[in-house]
Symmetry: C2
Subunit: 195 residues, 2 copies
DNA sequence: TATTCCGATAGTGAC
DNA sequence: GTCACTATCGGAATGAG
């Protein structure tokens, strides 16, 4: 089987992967991303026919029934985050729910991810842009407009190659600099809970 | 002093560098290249006013008096080569005399080099193209035509970035493949003399 | 185009 | 569109008693 179906075993048999599964029922499976791009990074996997739908083609009717699961997943992600990190100034962690406009894994998966992007697995400009450019389709953007260019694969891929932008600053392709910036921002806000 | 004058000490004081100097008189110094790009690679350094002339601007009147030195240098290079290598089929080693059209070292230097380009110091496409493209000005091409594009630095530099070509085959930028090819050709022809 | 160091970029293969 | 590996490509510094 191709790497493009790496998520399929979790959908078909969540019990077999209890170590990585945080929640499941007959509609969804919630797992930890194997290569987390933030301090907390989960994937919400619909189990039914939805698993074959392209993110850019999702309809309101398809996404609405998932909203309660998305909120649940955000809550679980938040709890997982607070198991490890404590805020220095009483702010709450911000959890995003989004889809990649041109994912490489074929089973539909919603990213549930904290907004820090501070992680050893975030290594490349593509990683960064897949969350910090319009390549990331926020859940509330669904359904995409009929003319949205992210329906086209070529345009979506071009978004991954563009210069990295953070807080309005252009970092070109300097991922090392971006990662240092993200790290110092994270460390300014969060402190690890010793356990 | 800038790296661009790395050859100057040899010209001004050849006695001080006897380990690297194979011949000198009041007109020239012949040294081993510090980063040889072939089995044998020497540099012939004119000592007088010629040391400041750009290779592409050399005149016939300037180069003619050097011809006997060039022949001597080729002879010395050949002898040095045969101290280490023996041909498997009685062919002679071919020694080239050439200049780089846009050298990075400012003192005029004529490369005296065997035509194998089999050396650990030949590492990059630029190295290869500096000898195996028109960037290499053969001694008998001097003086260059007035319209020769190699008089322009931009054009000369572009020659270093072009695809590598060997025996009419295009190797794109694949220096690893080119080096393997050069190595097998060298080993097919020459055998090291144990000493 | 001198080298060297570092980092960004690009192609490949995975079953 | 994934990751991991390898290799290629690209800029910057290089000294200075």
């Amino acid at each position: 089987m191709s790497f493009r179906y790496a998520l399929k075993p979790f959908i078909t048999d969540p019990k077999r992967h209890s170590k990585d599964v945080l929640f499941y029922d007959d509609k969804v499976v919630l797992i930890r991303d194997k290569f987390p791009k933030s301090a907390i990074h989960l994937l919400l996997l619909p189990r039914g026919d939805l698993t074959t739908v392209a993110p850019a083609k999702l309809t309101k009717e398809q996404i609405d029934p998932l909203n309660e699961y998305i909120n649940l997943a955000k809550e679980i992600a938040s709890n997982e985050f607070y198991k490890i990190w404590k805020c220095k100034n009483n702010e709450k962690v911000k959890i995003l729910a989004l889809l990649h406009s041109a994912p490489s894994l074929n089973n539909l998966h919603i990213h549930i991810i904290s907004d820090d992007f501070h992680s050893p697995s975030l290594k490349t400009k593509r990683h960064f842009n897949s969350f910090q450019s319009p390549f990331a389709i926020m859940i509330d953007e669904i359904p995409l407009d009929e003319e949205d260019m992210r329906r086209g694969r070529n345009y979506s891929e071009s978004l991954l190659k563009r210069n990295m932008q953070l807080h309005g600053d252009d970092y070109a392709g300097k991922i090392k600099v971006v990662k240092q910036k993200l790290q110092s921002e994270f460390e300014a806000k969060w402190i690890r809970i010793i356990n």
